[in-house]
Every structure is written in C-alpha cells, then in structure tokens.
Amino acid sequence: MSFRLSTRDLITIGIFTAVYLGAYVILSSVLFTPWLFILLLPVGALLMAPVYLLFIARTQKPFAITIMGLIAALVAGLIVYGNVLIALVNLGVAVLADAIAFAGKYRSLTLNVVSYLVMSFWVLGQVGPMWVARDWWRDLTITSGYSAEFADGSLDLATPLSLGLIALATVIAGLVSAYVARSMLDRHFRRAGVA
C-alpha cells in the first residue's frame, strides 16, 4: 500500500468531502432545532454509506479520511459553529474511522463498514453538546438568557441512556445504508470500473 497521496487522490478527497459534508449541511438546515437536531446522527448515517464506501474504494490510502475530517472540522466545527471543542470531536472521530479502515488495508468490507459507522458520529459535537460538554452547555444556555431550570432540564434528558438509544439508532441506520451501498458498489460502481 502506497502512503503517498497523489494529486488525483487529493482531488478525489475534495470532491467526496463536498458530497459528504454538503449533504450534512443541507440536512442540518432542515433539522436545525435542538431536539430534532439529534436526528442528524441517524438520518445522516442512513444516507451516506454509498458516498463513504465509494470514497474509500477510490483512495485506499491512509489519511484520506483524516483529511476529510480535517475539512469537516474546519468548516463545520470552526467556521460554521465557531467552536474549537466541536472541531476537535469532528477530527478525532475521523482519525479513529481512518485507523479502523487502515486495519483492513482499506479493502476489508467489514472494517470499512465499521469505519463508516464510527464516522457517522462525527457530528456528535454539533448535535449533542449536552453530552460532550455538560458544564459548558449549562453555562452557555444560562448566559444566552435561558433559565437554569431549562438548562438542567436539557441535561436531565442528556443521559447515557438517551445517548445510547441515539447511538443504537445511528448504528442500525448505518448498517441499512451500508447494505444498500454494498449492492450499489456491486451492481454499479464495480461494473462501471470505478471502484
């Protein structure tokens, strides 16, 4: 396996990041309210496996997914959300997803799917700051003019159990998506000679 990303790889990364991230941006503008917003995790996971798995098939090199995560962190974390902590969550998830796919040399379908499931949590910082940074979230809601009652109420809902349920929904949605993606890879992208 070559480690050097060619110009073609870098352009592929840019294009697939535009599809992947672009879809999330459009979805978030549709779901942009706190409690609906959490649905971004399962809905995103349901839609993006064909893009992600074709992306891995087209690059098959380390750091491609990490760079995708870096752009996501810069654009969705730093510029759109203006938040360093969220950006770090974005990047960290991508690094983990990259490492998992790397373990299968980017050719193991199982590990690529696991990598996809992990990557589907990249927006966790954006959609669920109440899980990621509880104190910060509490202070922030109060500074933003909301009652302590509201802040605590939202934290009461943000339990490990509710996170687990969302995570479960995301994984199931991701598996459905991966199933569709696999059939698309076999019936289309491989036959077309691009995967």
Binding site: R8, H188, R191, A192, G193, V194
Partner: protein, 481 residues
C-alpha cells in the same frame, strides 16, 4: 519543437494499439491540425505530447518522443507543463477556482512565477485575448465559450512554448467558436507552436499550416494547408471529415416544398403552442406565441446562448412551471406534457440510472413482463445496441449513451422527444448516422425537437427550423430535403 519517432502506444486496458508507428516533426511556431474519425488516435497523439500518456494513463510505449527538448517519459506532467500547455474538451471540468481571476493565476502560481511577473503577464494576456470583461466573475456564471477562453488564458499565463488542444470547440456554439479562433490567432501571433485535434475544421482553416489525417491509429495522410483546402467535398466526406467552410443555414429555396409524406398521413395537424411564457426575477426570458410545431418532422430549435432554448424545452416538457397553453388536439396539462415528453440531455450521463443497458431501457416497467422484454429487445436492435445490453451505461461511448436514452424514451411510450445538443463533439459519420436515426424514428413520434447550434447538422438532417433570440421566435423555415 515536437518530435515523434516511430511511436506505438497501447493502453493497458486494451489489446490493440491506439497509435501505430507514428512519426512526426513539428517546427517552432507551426500550427498543426490533426483530424480523423472518432477513435482514430488523435487524443492519444496529443496525450503523448503533454505527457498524460504514459504519465497518467498507463500503457506500453515504444519509439521516442521529444517535446521542447524534454522527454515526456522522463519528466513529470507538472514539470513538463511549463513547456507544454493543454486545453481539453470540457470547459468547466478544467476550472479549479471559483473566480476567473484566481483561475488565471492558477497555473502560474503552481509554477512559482514571481508575483510581479505574474502581474505583468496578466496585463499582456488580458490584452491579447480581450478578456477584461471576464475578470472577477464567478465560474458558475460563465458560458462554455467564456470558460474555454479563461482556460486558454490561464494556460497562456504559464507561457509554454507548445500548446496542445484536444477538441476545444466540442462544447461551444457558433459565436464562441469564432472567439476561440481569435484566441488561437493570438497564440499563433505570439510565436507558440500549436497542435489542435478537432472534428470541426472550418474555424481552423485560416490558422493552420499543416493538417494530419489519422486513420485507425496511423498517420495516413499529411497535407499542407493549401493542399487540404483543395480536397473536394467528396474526398473529405469519404474521409469522414466535417466541412471546412463556415456552415450557413440552407435557406428555403423560395418555393414552398411538399410537406413530408409522413406528416400528410396524419390529419391531426400540428401541435400548437398558443402561449409559452416564463419570467425570471421579473424579466421575461421567454415569450412565444402562436407557434406551430409540425408533427412527425425533425424540428431544429436554434439560436445563440441565452436565447431561451433551454427554457422553451423545460417549459414545453413541463419540467419548469411556466405560463403555458399548448395544444395537441386538446389543451395539455403540465402533468400530461411531463408524461408524454422525454429529453435526451446534453449531459446524457445525468439521466442514466440503470445497472445495464437493458435495465436502463426497462426502468419503471416490470422486466418479467414478456411483452416489455420483447419490445426492449426490438428497440435495442433498431438502435444497434443488442450487443451492449449487459454493459453498464457508464462504460458506453457518448453515442451509445445517447442511443440508450433514446431507447428508454421510445420504450416508455414517449410522444414528444427532445434532444439537447445531440451532435456536439462528434465526427461527420456519427452526425449523419444520428440524423438518419432521428429520421427513422420520427414517424412513430408526434414531435421530434432538436435543440442545436450545429448548422451542419441542421442542413443535413432537419426538416424544419425555428430560430429563437431573446426569448422570442425570430424565424421559422421549412427546409428543402
């Protein structure tokens, strides 16, 4: 400046060589045109000069190539590009930036040209190509011709000694082709060595010094510009070449010609566009009234960019919600028009969804249905696709994709079939073959509308022409057949 010595090249994915025993010398400042049928090896020859083969598309090369004193096999494509500039077919797929000015600095920045030198070059390039009005524009607002000018100018900013252009006019309309010719003239004046591979030849006749004719991968004939111009029309046609004179529309011969027999068998009369209007941001972009569209005829819809051709098609087919009163015996609702229409798009790959040609044409039908299957086989046979029915549409040639889209439309019971620029970038043989095909199917359709800039195509294949300008019909002729 360019020297090929007995070069044979075979792509890795192919058994047959794409180029066989090619030898060629091009002097500094010379302007060479390469022509020949689709698949004759023109592109491969150019790719050997700019290093794209074997640097990017791999394969086996024998013989030697030297360009501007460099061996493209020993030099990386980016390094070679300081001496060899390249322009390709698809204007938009060559633009790297969002903004035209940034795009002009793209190549020179990559080559680490000093900022002050870049500025000097910019002033020169803008003056030479006359592109001042294009500066600072979003690339998404450019027409194909404008985009192609920006690509040429961005390449010129690198100041390479050699330019290779691979069918640069393929996606351009008549006026843009004239502008491209001016750009090429400016390049020639600057002393550059230029090699152009093309199907459309007329715009190059004043510029070229030499013409090479390729046939099945071999350089089979070589002409000086004078010799080439002296070829008779028959000789050119038998070589599969397009016209060398600026095509002019065949004006009706004064006397009204007999209506087409196919049309006279149908007593339903023409389709009638009583009114088709559309506004965008409060300006009227389309206003067509009382237009008759003859049945069973090949109708060409023509006009410059921005004349409203696409809006007409979108409004007619119902893809766009326009103010429309259109009659085919009775007034048609938008839904009816959507159901009865099919458009074969210029970017035909946007409309291919199936996993094989067969799957594509029966999309939305039940394949188990015996009748559908029989019909599909028949339609594929008429269009010469029977051997390709298991191939993924992505792997087809442009012409085959187009035919697949036609087959799908016919099988879906389409009655109004619209083609958007079906003949851009194809050679004479394919253009005529397409024309015959459309003539063959027109009897079974109520309307065949071809949106086109290609005057040569209109002259050889259309029955009726409608000219649009600024959203209105400015001319309508029947053509003598």
């Amino acid at each position: 400046m360019i020297s090929l010595d007995d070069v044979t090249f075979t792509f890795r994915s192919n058994n047959d060589p794409a180029l066989i025993n090619a030898s060629l010398e091009v002097d500094e400042g010379e302007f060479v045109v390469i022509c020949g049928r689709s698949g004759c090896g023109k592109s491969t020859l150019l790719k050997l000069i700019n290093g794209v083969v074997p640097g990017h598309e791999e394969g086996e090369l024998t013989g030697s190539v030297t360009v501007a004193g460099l061996d493209p096999q020993e030099t990386s494509i980016p390094a070679l590009s300081a001496s060899v500039g390249s322009v390709f077919q698809h204007p938009r797929a060559q633009l790297f930036s969002l903004d035209t000015t940034d795009e002009l600095f793209f190549g020179s920045g990559n080559h680490r040209v000093e900022p002050s030198t870049m500025l000097d070059r910019l002033h020169e390039t803008v003056a030479a190509f006359d592109i001042e009005p294009l500066l600072g524009r979003s690339i998404f607002d450019l027409s194909g011709g404008e985009a192609q000018k920006i690509v040429c100018a961005s390449t010129h900013m690198i100041r390479p000694a050699v330019y290779v252009l691979d069918e640069p006019s393929a996606n351009l309309d008549g006026r843009s082709i004239d502008e491209l010719a001016e750009v090429l003239a400016a390049l020639k004046r600057s002393g550059a060595t230029i090699v152009v591979a093309e199907h459309r030849l007329y715009y190059l006749m004043e510029l070229c010094d030499r013409v090479l004719y390729l046939d099945n991968g071999a350089i089979s004939a070589e002409f000086s510009a004078t010799q080439f111009r002296a070829l008779t029309a028959n000789e050119r046609t038998s070589m599969g070449l397009r016209t060398i004179e600026r095509p002019r529309m065949r004006v009706p011969s004064g006397s009204t010609t007999e209506p087409d027999p196919a049309a006279s068998h149908d007593d339903r009369g023409p389709l009638r566009v009583e009114r088709l209007r559309f506004r965008r941001r409060r300006t009227v972009v389309l206003d067509v009234q009382n237009l008759e569209l003859p049945r069973h005829e090949v109708i060409a819809l023509t006009g410059p960019n921005g004349a409203g051709k696409s809006t007409f098609v979108a409004g007619f087919t119902g893809a766009l919600r326009a103010d429309a009163a259109i009659h085919d015996e009775q007034r048609l609702s938008r839904r009816t028009r959507l159901r009865r229409s099919a458009v074969v798009m210029q970017d035909v790959h946007h409309q291919l969804f199936g996993e094989s040609v067969l799957d594509e044409v029966v999309l939305g039908h039940e394949l188990d249905d015996e009748e559908t299957r029989a019909n599909a086989t028949e339609v594929l046979e008429t269009l010469g696709l029977q051997d390709r029915q298991d191939v993924h549409p992505y792997c087809l040639s442009g012409g085959e994709k187009q035919r697949t889209a036609i087959a799908a439309a016919l099988l879906a019971g389409t009655r109004y079939l619209v083609f958007d620029e079906p003949t851009s970038g194809i050679d004479r043989d394919h253009m005529e073959r397409f024309g015959r095909r459309v003539q063959d199917i027109k009897a079974s359709l109520d309307l065949v509308l071809v949106v086109t800039h290609d005057v040569e195509f209109i002259n050889t294949c259309a029955d009726h022409v409608i000219e649009l300008a600024e959203g209105r019909v400015i001319g309508e002729h029947r053509l003598a057949r």
